[in-house]
């Protein structure tokens, strides 16, 4: 029998975490001036939309949003092979002097964030870049940390942490999936 998945955050807990993250983003930047929220494809994009909604509700401001696909900035093409490029990079804003907040679903090795920083640098020179993640599961391989974390968890390195979002997966949740011994 395969090991059981365990739910770390259910839909309501995800909602609470995102709202708190939205508040912390505004607090960290002393307001919403010059703020741009950039989600990493894929699920970071949906989370970024939720956070922008929460900021709008609270602050009555529409914070500009963008999307980043970092596939072409990965460092493992030669070793792992080509990955599907999942979604477009959409950054129609001048980043010069702006305060960019990168939103991702899970922070693990830090390699995705490293790639995202490289890609952002090709789009301009923000005054500041911050990182907000829904889940920090530890296991960093690079000197990268998140400024804002929805939930910190400890899992075995063989486990997978899946963030589900309603838009793509039919429901909101954070699930730990133990590696199937047989797989």
């Amino acid at each position: 029998m395969p090991p059981k998945n365990s739910v770390v955050l259910d839909a309501r807990a995800v909602d609470r975490a995102l709202k708190r993250m939205a508040d912390e983003i505004v607090e960290l930047h002393n307001g919403t001036d010059d703020l741009i929220i950039v989600g990493i494809q894929r699920r970071g994009v949906q989370l970024a939309a939720r956070i922008a909604d929460a900021i709008r509700e609270r602050e009555k401001v529409d914070v500009p949003r963008g999307a980043l696909d970092i596939t072409l900035y990965r460092d493992d093409l030669q070793t792992v092979g080509p990955r599907p490029v999942v979604g477009p990079t959409d950054l129609p804003w001048n980043l010069e002097g702006r305060h960019v907040v990168i939103i991702d679903d899970v922070l693990y090795t830090g390699r995705t964030v490293r790639a995202a920083l490289d890609e952002l640098a090709d789009f301009g020179r923000p005054a500041r870049i911050a990182l907000a993640v829904l889940v920090d599961r530890g296991g960093r391989e690079l000197p990268i940390h998140a400024d804002i974390v929805g939930k910190k968890i400890e899992v075995a390195s063989t486990d997978r942490v899946d963030v589900l979002v309603e838009e793509l997966d039919g429901k909101d949740a954070v699930v730990v999936v133990p590696r199937d011994e047989g797989a």
Partner: protein, 320 residues
């Protein structure tokens, strides 16, 4: 069925529908890279690519070069004139010497059909066929498919007619393979002397008159009439060809509905295509050129992985 490309891209005939779709889908996000202010991503950093063009080419060579550079690869261009090829070095010796300098990929254009295959069997680098004789020109076929798909949303059951010198055209062959695999209905139209004798075996409709082709088609892919065909005795004169097979505004107007106009270039205005058709509102000829860079970036990216068998496994990985 395999969803990766393997070592080489030699033609569309050996590819599966899934592989063609993978390339087209991968090309989609690459379009955006060329719209950026800094038109460069580091995906192929450190890879060395040799563009081996033994036959004149402007568009294809430049398109490949842009694609390579926008992926951060290092490139070298080798032509036949001014190189040791002129001194009689064979294709394989040229390639082996390049490989001895530790290159990763060869893009080859050659006047002999099968040249890319020949090379691919003998060197370890990835080989991309940029046109071999009258055999195939796969990246042109792919960019045509992408342009059609952009316009129609799907290729399935779309009616595409290839017009002109099908006999000598590698573009036509790649188009026929690609379009039929993607579920389009394909026709050809041209003088009998310029259609392959075995054209029926390709599973395409044959129109003898351009008027019938226009009546039927949703898109025309108009091939370049190579001017040397006149000397070869295939057609009586360019004027005669234009009178019988030229795609003109009058002929298109008679269809009473828009017909998409494509041409792989370079155009002979006033021969196979009239100027006001080439520049008309239904022409996507320049979109084809734009898509060419994206499609070639996609092919380079997919082949560059080196270990494509791992790509599918990586999809499920949770690395972050």
């Amino acid at each position: 069925m395999t969803k990766t490309l393997g070592k080489d891209l030699l033609g569309l005939e050996p590819l599966s529908t899934e592989q063609i779709r993978l390339i087209l889908d991968t090309a989609e996000p690459f379009k955006e890279v060329s719209e950026r202010q800094i038109k460069k991503v580091p995906a192929l950093r450190g890879m060395t690519i040799v563009n081996l063009f033994f036959e004149a080419s402007t568009r294809t060579r430049i398109s490949f070069e842009f694609a390579e550079k926008r992926l951060s690869a290092d490139t070298v261009n080798v032509g036949s004139s001014g190189s040791s090829v002129q001194k009689g070095e064979t294709l394989v010796d040229t390639a082996r010497n390049l490989e001895a300098m530790r290159i990763n990929m060869v893009v080859i254009r050659h006047s002999a059909s099968g040249a890319a295959h020949f090379l691919a069997d003998r060197i370890q680098s990835n080989v991309i066929n940029a046109g071999d004789g009258t055999h195939e020109h796969p990246t042109q076929g792919l960019l045509d498919l992408l342009t059609l798909r952009d316009h129609f949303g799907t290729l399935e059951r779309r009616r595409v007619c290839i017009v002109g010198d099908v006999l000598h055209s590698r573009v036509a062959r790649s188009n026929i393979w690609g379009l039929t695999k993607m579920g389009a209905e394909v026709a050809v139209c041209g003088p009998r002397s310029l259609l392959p004798k075995d054209i029926a075996e390709f599973g395409v409709i044959v129109f003898k008159r351009i008027e019938e082709a226009i009546e039927w088609a949703e898109a025309l892919n108009i091939l370049r009439l190579q001017l040397e065909r006149m000397q070869g005795g295939y057609i009586p004169s360019l004027r005669e060809y234009n009178r019988v097979f030229g795609v003109t505004r009058e002929r298109l107007d008679r269809a009473g509905r828009p017909v998409l106009i494509m041409h792989p270039g370079p155009m002979n205005r006033g021969v196979e295509i009239d100027s006001d058709v080439a520049d008309g509102e239904h022409s996507v000829i320049l979109d084809q050129v734009t898509n060419g860079v994206a499609v070639r970036m996609a092919v380079l990216y997919l082949l560059a992985g080196g270990r494509p068998e791992l790509a599918d496994a990586a999809k499920g990985a949770s690395e972050r």
